[in-house]
Symmetry: C2
Subunit: 318 residues, 2 copies
């Protein structure tokens, strides 16, 4: 049996290039760029809650890092370093190799470096803490939304929740559409470059991990404002459009988690700049409503009638 | 049932005073002091592995933070901030309140602030990441030990392992002695102030979490040196001295984990400075051996004979 130390050495130790000191001492040592703030976030993924125990480990490694990168994206922070704590029920080397590959492939793409961690036996649990940096005072906060701001969303909404419905056998999805939404669930692409581009443009931002209404709700609460959204403007994938049951579509798109798109607000005067990002970044961007002074959140259908929403988002203990 | 968000609000949100932005956004925002490096470490504690499921939650909250503070101590870094990820099988508010109290009591003592985290349902798992700062270039590394250095250890060794033996019914311990070693296991006191005082004095340092020989072994490997230790100099508590079976005493003191004392090396010329720390910091310090050019680790008894060591330290997957 490979030892804990050999495991770390074999799968999780890469030469540190952007850290002063990486894996292998009591702490990593990092130098934050002058004039920058450190942005820090952490996400814990538990087997059976955040992923199926038999999920492809390459995808799991990707996702564990992706959901953390998404938090940096939502702050407009540049990814720099991360730590990984891992509880494993047993050591299965092919699983570990694939998990590490999935994680490091994504890390390479965004120039973020593993600098430390912890490995232990226990029920499968993956905890990543990510660190990035942002020029002091330029971070995108949840608290900056103002009345009259446009509400924007990247990509399409609800695909991950739709995939979960499919995997749980709640709905039946055709081959190609299923593969698409399953990719969205298992290999989310954090909108890091969009977050960086939104510095100085957006007033507020959040990543959609718990569902649009829940996450936009955090912006509204922190900013002491409300919002009116147009259901017809909410961007949906072709796979989602092929679902006939409108209640499923609305539940997935408005309250489904795990999409990791960015929801942000920005004044109308910067619309041309945001529109231009579609081409320069190759990202879909939709204007789905407006921030209001009244502190409530409404979604209106094509006739202007409010849509009833049952559940706003995911609560791990509900 | 209290919601995930109410739980975080009630138990884990305190006003941020040293963070630019604390709990409640996608990331925390932190400003590292100019001329300092950020020191980062993380430890994951799993129920049934690192602690008994029925351990006093106040002590568990203390310990989860203490073991992380100990990593900063071993680098000579000043504690600043931490994040907490928590998987809970169920929400038991008295348990959570006690856990949070234990954690925040220790946090207050060392001026370290909770700035973010994650809460989810799942088998009990506590993952803390700690961040501190150290003047650039002054961190205590594992790699700095040199031949002729003294080998030092703070406090006494093996008490936590002895307590574990007692709790598991492997040995019988008397009331007062058991209470003492159980405190050592469940409420370790991180040697933060000692670590800070050792900057500029020690050549290398590590905290003893996996057992003296294993942890000193990391210093030796990283520094490409060896060590010769005198068993008679290894500091033992009265509780440990009361144990009659010498093999138990040696196993606990040399290979037992969870003591969170500092093991460090320093040149003989700074002995007076280190001796003086006993009084100024109120910490026990023992000189237990010497670093050698030959790359092995020996422990000699009072007659100078090498002591056979079965197991060097704890491996989570052994």
């Amino acid at each position: 049996m490979i030892s804990e130390f050999a495991l770390i050495e074999r799968y999780f130790t890469r030469p540190a290039s952007s850290a002063d000191l990486g894996v292998g001492d009591d702490c990593a040592l990092l130098s934050v760029s002058p004039g920058h703030q450190l942005a820090v976030s952490t996400d814990m993924l538990v087997s059976g809650r955040h992923f199926f125990a038999d999920v492809d480990p390459h995808r799991l490694g990707h996702k564990a890092l992706a959901v953390n990168l998404s938090d940096l994206a939502a702050m407009g922070a540049k990814p720099r370093w991360f730590t990984l704590s891992l509880a494993l029920p047993a050591i299965e080397e092919p699983w570990l190799a694939a998990f590490a590959d999935g994680m490091f492939d994504l890390a390479r793409e965004f120039g973020v470096e593993l600098v430390g961690g912890d490995t232990t036996s226990g029920p499968l649990n993956i905890c990543v803490q990510i660190m990035g940096e942002v020029p002091t005072g330029q971070a995108l906060l949840r608290s900056g939304a103002r009345p009259e701001d446009d509400v924007w969303i990247s990509g399409t909404l609800g695909d991950a929740a739709l995939a979960l419905d499919g995997l749980q056998g709640k709905i039946s999805l055709a081959g190609e559409g299923f593969a698409f939404v399953r990719d969205r669930l298992e290999r989310p692409l954090p909108k890091v470059n969009l977050g960086l581009a939104l510095r100085g443009l957006a007033h507020a931002a959040i990543d959609v991990s718990d569902g649009l209404l829940a996450d936009l709700g955090h912006i509204l609460t922190r900013s002491c404002v409300g919002a009116a959204l147009d259901w017809e403007s909410v961007p949906l994938s072709n796979a989602m459009r092929s679902v006939e049951d409108l209640s499923v579509v609305r539940r997935c798109a408005l309250s489904g988690g795990d999409d990791y798109e960015l929801c942000f607000t920005a004044p109308a005067c910067v619309r041309p700049h945001i529109d231009a990002l579609r081409d320069t970044l190759g990202v879909a961007l939709a204007r789905i409503g407006v921030i209001t002074a009244a502190c409530d959140l409404q979604v209106r259908d094509v006739r202007g009638e409010p849509i009833e929403i049952e559940r706003h988002g995911y609560d791990h203990f509900a």
